[in-house]
């Protein structure tokens, strides 16, 4: 099948020439450093004379700060600086909207909001000093859910919003002062579609806050080197961080150097940093390097979680079950600050992608992110999608069952085909949906549901599908040809575990026709390499990978021009650039089979089949790891993960209470790859990092209903919720 115009040339020939390298399982370039412990993570970096930071945080979800008495803390031996909001006012941080105070000076907006910061000789002294700071609070009425936030006459959480910096554009109009971001999309004649419908269905769903649950807590070290601010960090987008710091601190970007090396897991959470800003003030006040190592509890309680959401979907279908019209209302709880969201709309990236993957002739989609006095929400693996996919794929299943149409068949009737308009209003040119579902049906041995005897354990099928864009953006990197017949790529990409450096190595080796071992990949600080957009948005393979390929092609062209080979040419240097601006999307779908214990409501997933459109495979081992890991990541959010908050306080404040799946929870997973529809990435590659996780929750909920009749309308799908539904049914 032909790819989008312009990609065919990239695909033909190159893949065949380089197939031998790309088909080999890869060795990670950083593998031995990680296995031997040589890899240096941010928390491993220490400086002579380094001080340690601790924070005074709010115990209230919403309060006015009265007096802050730091005198006892200042007197404690070993304390070098105590700063309050008065010292950082009016400084605020953020990725797009800078609304998060570096330290609060007038009000605190969530439990964990920072009021004072201490630098001391040891972490223990800093923590002791934090306990000695006396803050007088006047508690204010707190807004703990989105309905309360949008009511008339409620307190406005950000009365000074007009003064906030909004990076790279203008903030959109908001329908209510407690709204962070809001957007409406309409296409087609929605009312006519509903009027023509045989039946109209409306369902509401809710999804709780969850956490990215990377293993490495955030770590940051800041010091002043003459005029230069040096930063060692766990942030995965060092150039973006440099820009955010430059704006928030009023320092030119070239005077800030960010060093983001190995990152111990990300899952979308390491794009927001909050420590760098206050550490700069502490370093300036003390003249010493200052480091903050957060504990896991801090990461769970006071960074950017995945948004909780309530989602109401309404869909009209004709007598054959074809979708005619759709409306959706999605409300995300953005928490106290919008700072964690990088997109212009100040919503999770795919906030508007309800009912993804289907032909939708007419739709009205409205999404809103709302300020509350809760832990701030930001980006997490496939932002906005797990919420929307849970709602949409549950909704689709409910409609199919009500119409008496098999759920997979219903999807086959409605899946978007090339040229059809989908929920975004755009004609679809991505994955061949019907072919994907045919593959899924065969690979999973999906069959008609059987009659249901009322025995204790019975099993059911669950189907769900999803859509994820291929990353977009621009990147550049320098490739140096060394005299020894080797090349060195110099990149600003920090590998957060996805295998970026190995990917670049293999792309260059494949294009130049040399063994991967002759391609070195070195990661540089922001003063040493070309600007890079960072890791995120399914970007690394299609964008930075394309820049690496471009660099290899430039070198090849230069060698050809000189009439030289890689072995006999002298040193030279080329710059590879890529701009991947096309909108391209891939699909995935799964079928899983699970068994429900009708007496307890507990479920066991027996097996699962995942079909994913991945384009050309470059790192076969890492690709499989992303799909398997993505599925298990999704499984965690499907059945166990919930950042439980009570009265504004996170009560799952450790990984003993905030449970993640273990390998013992992972079912046998069969993976089928679709590789014959090339994408815009190098050699026709697409993105896979956020392709498999979003819709697992719906697949589980759908299979639960198939198994026992219980329908769970909220995540996670727990045994107790199933048990409660079964009781309702039998009462």
């Amino acid at each position: 099948m032909p790819g989008p115009a312009g990609y065919d040339r990239a695909v033909t020939g190159v893949v065949e020439r380089s197939a031998s390298i790309l088909d080999q399982p890869e060795y990670r370039v950083e593998g031995s450093a990680k296995v031997t412990g040589a890899a240096r993570y941010a928390a491993d970096v220490a400086m002579p004379g380094m001080l340690h930071a601790a924070y005074v945080t709010s115990p209230y979800p919403h309060a006015r700060i009265g007096s802050v008495d730091v005198s006892a803390a200042r007197k404690l031996p070993g304390v070098r600086a105590v700063l309050t909001g008065a010292d950082t006012k009016p400084g605020r941080l953020g990725r797009r909207l800078q609304d998060w105070p570096i330290l609060c000076w007038d009000r605190v907006l969530f439990i964990g909001d920072r009021v004072a910061a201490i630098a001391a000789d040891t972490a223990r002294v800093a923590e002791e000093a934090a306990r000695l700071v006396e803050v007088e609070y006047e508690e204010l009425p707190s807004i703990l859910d989105t309905d309360a936030a949008l009511a008339a006459g409620v307190p406005v959480l950000h009365p000074d919003a007009a003064t906030y910096v909004f990076l790279g554009g203008t903030r959109a109009e908001r329908p209510h002062p407690n709204v962070q971001g809001h957007a409406v999309h309409v296409h087609g004649d929605v009312e006519a579609g509903f009027r023509a419908s045989h039946k109209v269905y409306e369902h509401s769903f809710s999804v709780p806050r969850t956490h990215q649950a990377y293993i490495e807590p955030r770590a940051t070290l800041v010091w002043l080197d003459g005029e230069t601010v040096r930063v060692v960090t766990t942030n995965k987008a060092p150039f973006a961080l440099r820009q955010h710091m430059s704006v928030a601190l009023g320092i030119p970007e070239e005077r800030i150097v960010v060093d983001a090396g190995y990152i111990g897991g990300d899952f979308g959470g390491k794009g927001l940093s909050i420590d760098e800003f206050v550490l700069y003030y502490l370093a300036r006040a003390t003249g010493r390097p200052v480091r903050a190592l957060t504990r896991y509890a801090d990461d769970l309680q006071a960074t950017n979680t995945r948004h909780a959401a309530t989602i109401t979907l309404r869909t009209g279908v004709d007598a054959e079950g074809r979708i005619l019209a759709h409306t959706s209302r999605v409300v995300f709880d953005g928490g106290a600050y919008a700072a964690g969201k990088p997109v212009m709309t100040l919503m999770p990236g795919d906030a508007m992608l309800t009912l993804a993957g289907y032909r939708v002739p007419a739709a009205r989609v409205e999404a809103t992110t709302v300020y509350t006095n809760q832990v701030p929400a930001g980006h997490a693996r496939a932002p906005g999608q797990p919420q929307n996919a849970f709602a949409a794929e549950s909704h689709i299943d409910l409609i199919a069952r009500d119409l008496g149409i098999d759920p997979l068949e219903f999807r086959e009737r409605n899946i978007v085909r090339h040229g059809d308009v989908d929920v975004t209003g755009q004609p679809w040119h991505g994955t061949d949906g019907p072919a994907m579902l045919a593959r899924l049906r065969t690979a999973s041995s999906y069959g008609p549901s059987l009659a249901r005897p009322r025995q204790v354990n019975w099993w059911g099928w669950g189907v769900a599908l999803g859509v994820r864009h291929v990353g977009r953006g621009r990147a550049a990197m320098v490739l140096r040809k060394l005299a020894s017949g080797r090349v060195e790529l110099r990149t600003g990409v920090s590998d957060q575990g996805g295998g970026a450096h190995t990917l670049f190595q293999r792309i260059i080796a494949a294009e130049l026709g040399i063994p991967p071992g002759r391609v070195a990949v070195s990661r540089g600080t922001t003063d040493a390499v070309l600007s890079d957009p960072g890791v995120g948005g399914s970007r690394v393979t299609p964008v930075q990978g394309s820049a690496a390929l471009d660099a290899a092609r430039m070198l090849k062209a230069k060698l050809a021009e000189l009439g030289r080979t890689i072995d006999d040419a002298g040193e030279m240097e080329v710059t590879g650039e890529a701009a991947q601006e096309t909108h391209e999307a891939s699909m995935y779908a799964y079928v899983l089979r699970l068994t429900v214990d009708r007496e307890t409501g507990s479920l066991k997933i027996n097996d699962a089949t995942l079909v994913a459109d991945v384009g050309t495979v470059i790192n076969p081992v890492a690709l499989r790891g992303q799909l398997e890991g993505g599925f298990i990541f999704g499984l965690g959010q499907a059945v166990m993960e919930e950042l439980r908050v009570e009265d504004g306080r996170v009560v799952t404040a450790n990984l003993g209470d905030y449970k993640l799946p273990t390998i013992a929870d992972a079912p046998p997973l069969r993976i089928e790859l679709i590789t014959d529809h090339p994408g815009p990435g190098p050699f026709g590659a697409k993105s896979v990092g956020e392709l498999a996780n979003p819709a697992v929750g719906a697949a589980v909920a759908n299979a639960v209903q198939d198994a026992c009749g219980a329908r769970v309308m909220s995540l996670p799908v727990t045994a107790e919720k199933i048990w409660a539904e079964l009781r309702k049914g039998s009462a």
């Binding site: 307890t600 799952t652 209470d657 273990t662 727990t718 045994a719």
Partner: protein, 282 residues
């Protein structure tokens, strides 16, 4: 946090250190609970007395009468893999093998588990169903107590300061006795139980139930022995089990938490007690 770390080689030395430092001292066995509590700031001892170097606290072996002795410093993993423990009761090795992960089980000890008195732990209900006694030593001498008298509340035991658990003694099991340990884990394989049930049961020659002990975990401040269920079953035929199981709901005192609501746990206690009885009467 700073503290002095002591690693005595003998029980006598450990007891002397406990007496010397009094309330400022805390014993550490495997450290899986102690270190967490210290990191969370819930425990701030000036002196940590580690028991790891005391050989006399180790070992797992049959006793001459056909029972089993488990040294207080035996790890969970050692019990799980012990041939003697398995021969004594496979349900016992099951219960120890149900705890957390293999990394934890390699470190956590039997005595440390009992002294920690976490009501959601797996081994205490099973040890109680097997009628274990716990041996305790202090500088004033030794005593032994039924395991049911050890835990008195959440994370609280009847031990006096200055006392060290030295071993757990399990009596010989009467011929014909069946045992089981069931742990309900609805979220993930690596978790505390939502409810757990340990049961032992022996039939009389006529087919009635001669003796049974049923102990539940995670549904009260300590492991809870379901005495009313036991009383309703003794001397009765198996057919009475179904009615007897309903009595368990009034014997337990579960709380709402992340592993389920109190109402759910109450119902699950009934279901899983029934399942445990089905296993030992099959």
């Amino acid at each position: 946090m700073t503290f002095d770390y002591h690693e005595p080689r003998t029980l006598a030395e450990a007891l002397a250190l406990l007496d010397r430092y009094g309330e400022d001292a805390h014993l550490m066995a495997g450290g899986t609970a102690t270190v967490l509590l210290m990191r969370q700031g819930l425990l701030r001892p000036g002196h940590v007395i580690a028991l790891r170097a005391i050989d006399e606290l180790g070992g797992i072996a049959h006793t001459p009468d056909g029972g089993l002795r488990i040294g207080a410093m035996a790890t969970h993993r050692a019990v799980e893999r012990s041939a003697d423990a398995f021969a004594y009761s496979p349900a016992l090795t099951d219960a120890f093998g149900s705890v957390a992960t293999v990394r934890i089980r390699n470190q956590a000890t039997v005595g440390g588990n009992l002294a920690h008195a976490d009501p959601a732990q797996d081994p205490p209900p099973m040890l109680s169903a097997l009628n274990a006694t716990v041996s305790v030593r202090s500088s004033r001498g030794g005593r032994s107590l039924p395991i049911e008298e050890l835990a008195v509340d959440h994370f609280t035991t009847s031990l006096a300061h200055g006392e060290i658990i030295t071993e757990v003694i399990l009596p010989p099991i009467e011929p014909g006795t069946r045992e089981t340990y069931l742990k309900f884990l609805p979220r993930t394989a690596d978790d505390y139980a939502t409810v757990s049930v340990a049961a032992t049961l022996r039939f009389a020659p006529g087919g009635t139930i001669a003796e049974t002990r049923i102990v539940l975990g995670a549904v009260g401040p300590t492991p809870i022995r379901a005495r009313r269920v036991e009383d309703a079953l003794r001397g009765q035929p198996v057919s009475r089990a179904r009615d007897a199981v309903d009595l368990v709901r009034d014997e337990i005192d579960p709380i709402d938490d992340l592993r389920g609501s109190a109402a759910y746990k109450r119902e699950m206690a009934r279901i899983w007690t029934g399942r445990a009885l089905a296993q030992v009467t099959r």
